[in-house]
Amino acid sequence: MKPGMSNNSSFRENFLAGLKDGLPICLGYLAVSFAFGIQAVESGLTVFEATMISLLNVTSAGQFAGIGIIAANGSFLEIAASQLIINLRYSLMSVAISQKIDPKLPTLKRLGIAFGMTDEIFAVSAARPGVLQPSFSLGAISISVAGWVLGTFLGAYAGQILPDRVISALGLALYGMFLAIIIPPARDSRPVLYVVLLAMFLSVLFTYAPYLRLISSGFRIIIVTLLSAGLFATISNKDSGES
């Protein structure tokens, strides 16, 4: 169950591995957060405020929704609920990572790993063989968050000088990154492929079908995730970690 338990590789080695896996995430984040920075300033935030949001939140969809609510003068309850619903998937990822770290890992290190729990960092962490070392997370998180914050700053500070066509093109960066994470495993594993296709189908259904489309996008993602992953966990048992 835990082949990597007696992991004798050093802090430095794991940290460097984290940096290496984090570099492409960092560069992808630069593009996506650049788009976020542009939009934040368009919504009336200052460069400093936009940058602080990225530093303290490190979420994509949640931040985009958040600045929309701030611009619309929404209530604190509304902004709290939006973050809870849109980001609830991270708690499921945290459950998964809780099974991959040393059970004796102290709370402070757990909080550090939790702070940087994004879709992409989760994906590279889950793909690590054996037990997840906190030094790996430190490397992956620090370089990724640096890219996320720097990109936001640059987008907020200088984004307005870019032509509309470039801004439109940057809109696809986030989704390109998502596809790069899910397609290779879907190629290798039939059940993963079916989970991906089912989730996409249900997501389209919940977006456009009468009544179902009234569900907010944050809830939609949670419901679709629970249905597709739950169904395949029931009909096709696959042990986690062994990817």
Partner: protein, 100 residues
């Protein structure tokens, strides 16, 4: 809005951090259920797939350029290119598609 801006940001940050931190700090034993392990294995694929489709088709200024970007991202990721290559390739495809 202006006077409360940092309160908004604090609320966002605290809710988001709690969502991430509670499971990782509270769950300290190994979950035995095979079903749960299976579910957690499929989880990220389901979430990312649901977040990508259909949202990707409205992420640019028109559905045609978005489709071009989607197809390029699909091909590049099928051939196991890195996150950066796929993201950049998709953006470039959108840019080129919107020239016409």
């Amino acid at each position: 809005m202006r006077s409360h801006i940092f309160a908004y940001i604090a609320v966002m940050a605290i809710v988001t951090f709690l969502v991430r931190a509670l499971p990782l700090t509270l769950i300290r034993t190994e979950i035995k259920s095979k079903w749960v392990h299976s579910f957690l294995y499929y989880l990220p694929f389901a979430t990312l797939a649901a977040m990508t489709v259909p949202a990707i088709f409205t992420a640019t200024s028109n559905v045609y350029s978005a489709t071009a970007g989607f197809l390029v991202a699909l091909v590049l990721s099928y051939f196991r290119r890195s996150l950066l290559t796929v993201a950049a390739g998709a953006c470039i495809a959108v840019y080129i598609a919107e020239l016409f």
